[in-house]
């Protein structure tokens, strides 16, 4: 069974692109977060990126920084996120990618992390600050290949390096839409098109594009060239604007539907 592979195949047949939804686990609190995530998965998110909060998120803009800080204040840890994963998995078959900085995983223990994440039902892991050069120390401890290590490619990545990165990738490839941290604006869809094309020339894997995508129009534009569209800060901003709103879950769910609609060609 490979949920990621099956999902992309399935979408291809439906002539849809994947809506990849990122949320920080445990924000605004663990129970609302769980309800919200399950609802998102049931209403259109094709791949869940579950963010593990970190004290020093150097690749993230202010919106995700604040969301991380709230989650940490709620006592969210990698262990708890694995617990949440298990609960989400009980409710949905949507592929789950754990999204993390390396230090929390390192502190948890690489081998233990593999075991527990897999058992909980995760499908992959994306480690923002673990480039291929450093990744072996983690994957070498893994007792199998049940988890995909999602590789990132950036606009600054030269062709040769792209190829090299693609070689060790599995699941899908994450193409960063632009230089800058998450949530920064100024999306250039023609540039994304070029980068996607370049990346396609070195990999057979599906390509998901993320960073700075916020409107359904953005989604449609990116969906036209990529296999998946990642939405992160846009969800987080909505969460932040509705922290105490009892309708938060339905507001987010509604937004998921709008985005999902835009992924259908």
């Amino acid at each position: 069974m490979n949920r990621l592979h099956d999902m992309f195949e399935n979408l291809k047949q439906k002539k849809e692109k994947a809506l990849v939804g990122f949320v920080t686990a445990g924000d605004p609190d663990i129970s609302v977060s769980l309800r919200m995530i399950i609802s998102m998965c049931k209403s259109g998110v094709d791949i869940l990126e579950l963010g593990i909060p970190f004290s020093d998120p150097t690749a993230d803009g202010p919106v995700i920084q604040r969301s991380s800080a709230r989650a940490l204040a709620n006592g969210v840890s990698l262990g708890k996120v694995i617990g949440m994963t298990k609960k989400i998995r009980e409710e949905t078959d949507v592929p789950i990618i754990l999204f993390s900085y390396y230090n929390p995983i390192h502190a948890y223990g690489n081998a233990r992390f593999y075991q527990d994440a897999l058992e909980a039902g995760a499908d992959g892991v994306l480690v923002v600050d673990l480039p291929p050069e450093e990744a072996d120390e983690m994957t070498d401890t893994w007792a199998g290949d049940g988890l995909s290590l999602i590789r990132l490619v950036a606009p600054t990545t030269p062709g040769e390096r792209m190829k090299h990165i693609a070689e060790s990738a599995s699941g899908f490839m994450y193409l960063v839409s632009k230089t800058g941290v998450t949530g920064s604006d100024g999306l250039d869809t023609s540039e994304i098109g070029q980068h996607t094309e370049l990346l396609r020339s070195v990999t057979q894997l599906p390509i998901c594009v993320g960073f700075g995508i916020s409107t359904p129009e953005d989604v449609a534009a990116v969906a036209a060239v990529a296999d998946g569209v990642v939405i992160g800060s846009a969800f987080e901003r909505l969460i932040e604007d509705n922290l105490d709103n009892p309708d938060l879950v339905s507001i987010i769910t509604e937004r998921v539907c709008e985005y999902k609609a835009a992924t259908k060609l």
């Binding site: 970190f54 004290s55 020093d56 998120p57 150097t58 690749a59 993230d60 803009g61 202010p62 920084q65 940490l72 840890s77 990698l78 262990g79 900085y101 390396y102 230090n103 929390p104 995983i105 390192h106 502190a107 948890y108 923002v128 600050d129 673990l130 480039p131 050069e133 450093e134 990132l152 490619v153 950036a154 606009p155 600054t156 990545t157 030269p158 390096r161 990165i165 960063v176 230089t179 800058g180 941290v181 920064s184």
Partner: protein, 401 residues
């Protein structure tokens, strides 16, 4: 003790044994690879070295002297203490050695903008200084809390033409400033050179900063032989990120000389309010490299605490982590009040107002000197001057005045 073969580190991936490396977002990797190439290709170029050493000499005021602190030594009735006077370098600390090197490299790489993080403001001032010297645009990231505490250095940076970007996130201190500098760099990496202020950060920074700082130890080697007639018995330096310490230690690393790195124990290591990363931290990844860090059991980085803003950092350079494991360097910690006492002692016995960072090294030297015979020679890196700390010292009731 195993012989530490300095020339083996870092390896080709920037690892110092189990430490170091490049734990950064993919967006930055190409820039780091470009920088690594420049570091290996350009910095050894004799033309680069000539220009660098010319600036160190004519601009930064090197060589800085080594001074036999006779009254302090007599007071302690033990080993002779010699001070390596980095406090006399332009801008008031050893930081200028490194910023000159990096800015010069940036110029050779045709970068027109530099950024830097700063805590106490010393590295920020040193970066703003070289940016002015080379006519580069300069943006300094500094936590809002540090901006409040270190107003004079903020003013200096602005006078030097730099932009100072306040960082509100986290606790508004050095760690947050470095986070924000990295975030900014991710967005501006194509034309911007990030001048990191210590032997921390991703490869090649730890090696490169060490190499730009090793002039301290190279000079000290020659000077102490001349002044004291041989190799010293012990070297002592404070360790924040660890650049002044690496600068002093590195050229002696294959000699039989004891080395002591002094971290900040803040209010006491047992209170949890300290910055003794090597002494009380554990291995982790922060700001692009693997090393000892202060973190909780979940891998969340913890706040550091020290009266000295320059040591108030929960990370440490990866080479120090290796040196600790190899037991080539002994790492100890000095608390706030010991540092203040050493500060005052050096003021009144030698007429030198040391930086609070450097006061930690002096405090340890006072302990070591007392234990050792008169003939022994201890070299202390006086990494900076204390003018910047007058406000902090002033608030301290222990120092009557």
């Amino acid at each position: 003790m195993d012989k530490f073969e300095a020339e083996n580190y870092p390896d080709s991936n920037g690892h110092f044994g189990a430490y170091g490396g490049r734990y950064v977002a993919e967006t930055l990797m190409p820039a780091l690879l470009e920088l690594e190439k420049a570091y290996y290709d350009i910095t050894p170029d004799p033309a680069f070295q000539d220009e660098f050493h010319g600036l160190l000499h004519h601009y930064a005021g090197r060589p800085t002297p080594i001074f036999h602190a006779k009254r302090l030594s007599a007071h302690l009735q033990g080993a002779s203490i010699y001070l390596k006077r980095e406090d006399l370098a332009h801008t008031g600390a050893h930081k200028i050695n490194n910023t000159l090197g990096q800015a010069l490299l940036a110029r050779w790489m045709r970068k027109k903008k530099v950024i830097a993080e700063t805590g106490a403001g010393q590295h920020g001032v040193a970066t703003a200084t070289v940016a002015a010297l080379f006519g580069m645009e300069c943006n300094i990231f500094m936590g809002t809390e540090d901006i409040r505490r270190q107003a004079a250095n903020v003013q200096r940076m602005k006078l030097l033409g730099a932009e100072v970007t306040p960082v509100e996130s986290g606790t508004g201190t050095l760690k947050d400033a470095m986070n924000e500098a990295m975030r900014y760099w991710v967005g501006a990496v194509q034309d911007t050179f990030y001048v990191i202020g210590s032997v921390a950060g991703p490869h090649p920074y730890p090696a490169m900063v060490r190499d730009f700082q090793k002039v301290i130890g190279e000079e000290a080697r020659g000077q102490i032989s001349e002044e004291a007639g041989g190799m010293p018995d012990m070297l002592i330096a404070c360790v924040g990120g660890g650049s002044n310490a690496m600068g002093l230690f590195f050229p002696f690393i294959n000699d039989t000389v004891e080395m002591v790195g002094v971290e900040a124990a803040g209010k006491g290591v047992e209170t949890g309010k300290h910055a003794a990363t090597l002494g009380a931290g554990s291995v982790g990844v922060l700001h692009g490299s693997k090393s000892y860090v202060l973190q909780d059991e979940n891998g969340q980085i913890q706040e550091a605490h020290s009266i000295s803003a320059g040591l108030d950092y929960p990370g440490v350079g990866p080479e120090h982590s290796l040196l600790k494991d190899l037991e080539r360097v002994r790492y100890v910690a000095i608390n706030d009040s010991q540092a203040l006492e050493a500060f005052q002692t050096l003021c009144t016995l030698e007429g030198i107002i040391p930086a609070l960072e450097s006061s930690h090294a002096v405090a340890q030297a006072m302990i070591e000197a007392r234990r050792r015979p008169k003939g022994d020679v201890i070299v202390v890196n006086l990494s900076g001057r204390g003018d910047k700390d007058l406000g902090i010292v002033n608030q301290n009731p222990e120092l009557g005045s």
